[in-house]
């Protein structure tokens, strides 16, 4: 889209002058970056650093002042069953949800990538779970999983004659929470993977056909390797994001029964804002930071490896 009135040499000269001038005007750059950087520093970086600092303190806002206690909070962590069992379920919840979301997301992407009547409508429908608030999904599914009046037990009863005490049972509650989470985010993953599918050059499939691939082998030997970078990226994004989320568990089960569906993020919220134990909550947050850190660094390394450019 070059403008024909400017000769290339002039354009180059202008570009040079432009960059020269801009390079000198640090003020302009700073002014442009300031709002965004200030927001992130204030609401993400500062709280992050401060939490590390707080984790070495005993601090209940109702009984000031803060007291430095060294590693006391961390020692307490190892003996706290509410925390250790929430680590258990957090890992299960995040890993299983992400794996299921990717598998179902792939299926959804493959469906939406085919040409069929009504595809536009189905694509719009696919956006619904992403657009619905997690709170609403949690409430809706809690109602559907209700032992007595829930629709899921009614369907199970009609089809195979059993009723499952979903949210009251240890594994029933875990399965229900993970299933709901998968329902909420698999379509979003599918959307991203659909975009990836559309980037696969069609002539590769033609070439594959010549070499005698059928639809299934084409998927495993052409499609899957080519969209692997996007699968890894969205997978890590989902891991990092789901590690920190607690609205689903909060509304659907409250972490119960017992600690069956307790996740770290919800435990942090409870310890901080129900028990008002700010120091200890910060110590639990450290576990979350370390886990997210490991996931992110792995992500960055893999990112380099699969050579996805932003």
């Amino acid at each position: 889209m070059s403008s024909p009135s400017i000769p290339a040499s002039t354009a180059r000269a202008v570009r040079f002058r432009l960059t020269q001038r801009m390079r000198r005007s640090v003020l302009i750059i700073a002014a442009l970056l300031l709002p965004a950087v200030a927001l992130r520093l204030f609401t993400a970086v500062y709280p992050f650093l401060n939490t590390i600092w707080l984790s070495f303190h005993d601090w209940n806002p109702a009984f000031p002042p803060k007291q430095f206690v060294g590693f006391k909070n961390f020692q307490a962590l190892t003996r706290d069953i509410a925390v250790t069992s929430s680590i258990d379920f957090t890992v299960l919840f995040v890993v299983l949800s992400t794996v299921l979301q990717i598998i179902l997301g792939l299926v959804i992407a493959l469906i939406l990538n085919r040409v069929f009547p009504g595809r536009g409508l189905v694509r719009a429908i696919n956006l619904i779970p992403w657009a619905i608030p997690m709170v609403v999904a949690a409430i809706g599914f809690r109602w559907m999983y209700d032992v007595q009046y829930g629709i899921i037990n009614d369907l199970l009863h009609r089809l195979i004659g059993v009723r499952v005490p979903w949210l009251i049972d240890f594994w029933g509650a875990r399965i229900a929470v993970i299933a709901t989470n998968t329902w909420k985010s698999a379509p979003f993953v599918g959307l991203v993977l659909l975009a990836a599918l559309q980037g696969v050059p069609q002539d590769l499939y033609e070439a594959g056909k010549v070499d005698g691939t059928n639809r299934i082998s084409a998927f495993f030997y052409i499609t899957l390797p080519l969209i692997m970078p996007q699968i890894v990226t969205i997978g890590l994004f989902m891991v990092v994001w789901q590690l920190a989320a607690f609205d689903l568990v909060f509304v659907m089960t409250g972490g119960g029964p017992g600690f069956a569906t307790q996740v770290l993020a919800y435990r942090i919220y409870q310890v901080a804002f129900t028990a008002l134990n700010f120091g200890y909550a910060s110590a639990i947050s450290m576990i979350l930071f370390i886990t997210v850190g490991i996931a992110s660094v792995t992500g960055l390394l893999l990112f380099r490896k699969v050579e996805v450019s932003l």
Binding site: R15, P35, W143, T233, L310
Partner: protein, 282 residues
Amino acid sequence: MKFRALRWIDQFVFALFVSIFIFSIVFPFYWIMLSSFTPKYELFTVPPRYWFSTFTLENYQTLANSIPLTRYFVNSLFFAAGSSFISVAAAFLASYALARLQFRGANFVFIAFVMSIALPQVGGLVPLFEVFKATNLINTYHGLVILMSSLVLPFTVWILVPFLRQIPYEIEEAAIIDGARLPQLFWFIILPIMRPALATMAIINFIIAWNELVYPLVFATSGINKTLSVGLVELAVQPTAGGGRPWDLLSALSMVMILPILLLVLLFQRMIVSGLTRGAVK
């Protein structure tokens, strides 16, 4: 003959998949809607009713009488619109600097920015609460908007920077030769070109903020500033007489919360999809 049979099976299996898919996505939504229009006493029946038996609006009426519904709705609207506007504006300015003004470390700032998405929101609540209390930001619109727009900023920058890089330099050069300075350049050249991308991100951020629970839950503790999501959660977790849940009110409030979002999704489906997936494909 054999091929035709295979193709028929193929299409049948595919149609089956599509039907299962549509059913599992739409059904929970249908169920919430059905419950919201069903009188309370009919909600608790075994077996549950799969179709409208008695259509009623009384759940909505009861809801409006038991919580400050309009207040919450307006709060959600201000919160979402404010966060959407501030986040897109700040992201736009920063993205321009990052994509166009090649300064040393621009790429580092960009990556640091995007990576900051990984700092878990829940881990920063305690220090933020402390600061907000000290600066009287709790229970204020601007306090909530600051938090929310910051939360969606990294993603917005991630989408906008590549978009800006696609715009050919020559357009800006021509404007500069014609004597445009940075403000004019922004207003007359860049902004019009970026309008679709900015609108897309504004819609997406609006939806994300409208649905947000954690920040309003912690930082909007008085009735004056609570959002719909907080109102919904309070109804859902508060103990009621007899231990049951007020499904009549919950489903009605859920509908109130979903409908504006569904409208946006139906109207701007294409834009939303392109915005959400732009990051995935370069």
